[in-house]
């Protein structure tokens, strides 16, 4: 007697059913909540709520802070990404761990750590307060919290893009008498640009959705630090319509970003893999 073979038609059908079934369960788990949001907020409500002060204020603040955080990430992150992509130096591994840490750290811990550093009694905060600069519970603090949580995503993507630029082009530039700086601006940076832009997209989405670090470090002050995710949390207890509207807006913004990146030929995590498909 032989045991039923793996190639038995009934067995194959069963396996296929299990795979499809599990995939369907997961898809439903992800889709249902989002669909419920859509059902919950009719378009008319959405349009009406967007104009209301709590939603309008949070939306405007979120846009300003997340774009500021993204701009800072580009300014501060690009040199770092370039260093990591092109140089070997002692302590590089430690630096890489440091830069990856915010990706896995609980955001509240990040917020608390920021408070320890930049709070009124903090390591740097005391010196800053002498100069009359205060970060906690300010809009600038919200930007700092978002930057802290989102800049690693930009660096990973930008670094992968800069690394993936083939040395053939860099060599060609050198033989055409181009200095290193000129080669960076005219060759390496433009060729890595798709990944850098995708990295900015990732970074912006992360900054836009930041909650834990912001509320811990910058508090929940209307018009100053109450960004959309914080407003959702607050309105959940006061005004479900506003909470749903804000949530839906966040879903729409994230979806638009993802679709735009796909249209541009960049999957969300494609930039992270760029180095592997170098050349």
């Amino acid at each position: 007697m032989t045991r039923p073979s793996w190639r038995h038609p009934a067995r194959e059908a069963l396996c296929r059913l299990i795979v499809l079934g599990l995939a369907a369960v997961l898809a439903a788990l992800l889709a249902l909540p989002l669909l419920s949001l859509l059902v919950r907020v009719p378009i008319a409500t959405l349009l009406a709520e967007v104009g209301e002060p709590p939603v309008r204020e949070a939306l405007w603040l979120s846009l300003r802070t997340s774009l500021a955080a993204t701009a800072l990430a580009a300014l501060l992150g690009l040199p770092m990404a370039h260093l990591l992509a092109t140089r070997r130096f002692p302590g590089k591994a430690a630096l890489e761990v440091l830069l990856d840490l915010p990706l896995v750290l609980p955001p509240t811990v990040a917020g608390f750590a920021l408070l320890m550093a930049f709070g009124r009694a903090g390591l740097v905060g005391r010196a800053l307060s002498v100069m009359g600069i205060s970060l906690p519970f300010t809009t600038a603090g919200a930007v700092l919290a978002q930057l802290f949580m989102s800049v690693p995503l930009f660096i990973v993507a930008a670094r992968a893009g800069l690394t993936a630029v083939s040395s053939r082009y860099l060599d060609a530039a050198a033989t055409l008498r181009a200095s290193r700086a000129y080669t960076f601006w005219r060759v390496r940076l433009p060729l890595a640009l798709p990944n850098i832009v995708a990295g900015l997209g990732l970074c912006w989405a992360r900054a836009l959705g930041e909650f834990g670090a912001t509320i811990t470090f910058a508090g929940n002050l209307a018009g100053r630090t109450r960004t959309m995710p914080l407003a959702v949390y607050l309105e959940l207890q006061q005004n479900l319509g506003a909470a749903a509207t804000l949530s839906l807006l966040l879903v729409i913004m994230a979806s638009v970003l993802l679709v735009a990146m796909r249209q541009a030929g960049l999957g969300l995590f494609a930039p992270l893999h760029a180095a592997r498909r170098a050349d």
């Binding site: 083939s166 060609a172 050198a174 033989t175 008498r177 200095s179 000129y182």
Partner: protein, 357 residues
């Protein structure tokens, strides 16, 4: 005048060679893949650093490992065309050609005007606005040359400039490139694995084998007196190392070769000589030959290859090692009923052998 003495260790490969090239002339470096041709070009360009060596061009020292002098690529007056051209994919043809001019400080407008002149001379002005992805292989090659020559380099380095082209394009581009190189005032170093290209382009030809220069000379020297098996195979000669055993007062010289004793009528002085036998001057027979041929080898047929264009002549490869090539007519091959494995006698006259140092 470009002169370079270079040694470089790369993994298990070692390069040790000296090359010289003159302005207005083309030096071809020919060799199999892995012989170190591209390494030499990259060392000349400064993209690699020699372990020890000295490079000087036009009175300027580019590299001297004894004094520690090492100019980076951007400080060397070179034009470099890599095998895949490496045109900047995000820049137009015009911007590619203008790249070096702008990198050396020319303003955009001025650089573009100058680049436009260059591409006009190359007959590719119509392509100015295209990106490299929109060009054919032949067009890319011209853009790469135009880009490398826009800065009027002292030394032009070409790495297999025809290898990326399809066979048909290669034939037309070969002639154009030959005329272009002949008109240039700069030193040209041209790397190729193709013997035909070496013969077409080389004012001087250096044969690289395993990182060493096996032979340097003009086309005729290489064709008539190859000094390495690689070159001999390229030009279609049998080449055997020979040690002189006896010199007859009448002029005949007997040499010992891996194939047996060979008698020649005219030999250069010296004990160690190269012996070259043209495959067309060898006769095959199934029985030991009678007659005037003084040199006879016995061998088994290993391969029968019809020769282009019509297959009227057959190239017969005789074993055992080293292979010995014989070229006979198809009719003769039929008559002898030649087949792989068949034992034959190969005979040639003492007067049809060249022996040189």
């Amino acid at each position: 005048m470009l002169r370079a003495e270079l040694t470089k260790q790369l993994g298990g490969f070692s390069l040790d060679c000296t090359i010289e090239a003159e302005p207005g002339r083309t030096l071809v470096l020919v060799g199999e893949s892995g012989s170190g041709k591209t390494t030499v070009l990259r060392l000349l360009a400064g993209l690699l650093q020699p372990d020890a060596g000295h490079i000087a061009s036009g009175g300027q020292v580019w590299c001297d490992t004894r004094t520690g002098k090492l100019s980076p690529p951007e400080d060397r007056p070179i034009g470099y065309v890599p095998q895949d051209y490496a045109l900047f994919p995000h820049l137009s043809v015009l911007e590619n050609v203008a790249f070096g001019l702008r990198a050396t400080g020319a303003h955009r407008r001025e650089a573009h005007a100058q680049a436009r002149d260059v591409i006009r001379r190359f007959g590719i002005e119509a392509l100015a606005g295209r990106t490299p992805a929109q060009l054919s292989g032949g067009q890319q090659q011209r853009v790469a040359l135009a880009r490398a020559l826009a800065l009027e380099p002292e030394v032009l380095l070409l790495d297999e400039p025809l290898a990326a082209l399809d066979a048909e394009t290669r034939n037309t581009v070969r002639g154009e490139l030959r005329r272009l190189l002949a008109s240039l005032p700069c030193v040209t170093v041209f790397v190729t694995h193709a013997p035909l290209e070496a013969l077409v382009f080389g004012d001087r030809i250096a044969v690289l084998e395993h990182g060493r220069v096996a032979q340097v000379g003009d086309q005729m020297t290489l064709l008539r007196q190859p000094r390495s098996r690689y070159v001999a195979t390229l030009v279609g000669l049998n080449l055997l190392p020979g040690r002189v055993r006896a010199r007859d007062p009448g002029g005949a010289v007997t040499l010992e070769t891996p194939r047996g004793l060979i008698t020649v009528m005219d030999a250069a002085p010296g004990d160690q000589l190269f012996v070259a036998v043209s495959p067309e001057q060898v006769f095959l027979s199934l029985e030991p030959p009678e007659g005037s041929a003084r040199n006879v080898f016995v061998g088994a047929v290993e391969e029968l290859v019809p020769e282009p264009p019509f297959g009227d002549r057959i190239r017969v490869v005789l074993g055992p090692d080293p292979p010995f090539f014989v070229e006979i007519t198809a009719a003769a091959a039929r008559q002898l009923q030649l087949a792989v494995g068949r034992r034959v006698y190969a005979a040639f006259k003492a007067t049809s052998v060249a022996a040189y140092a």
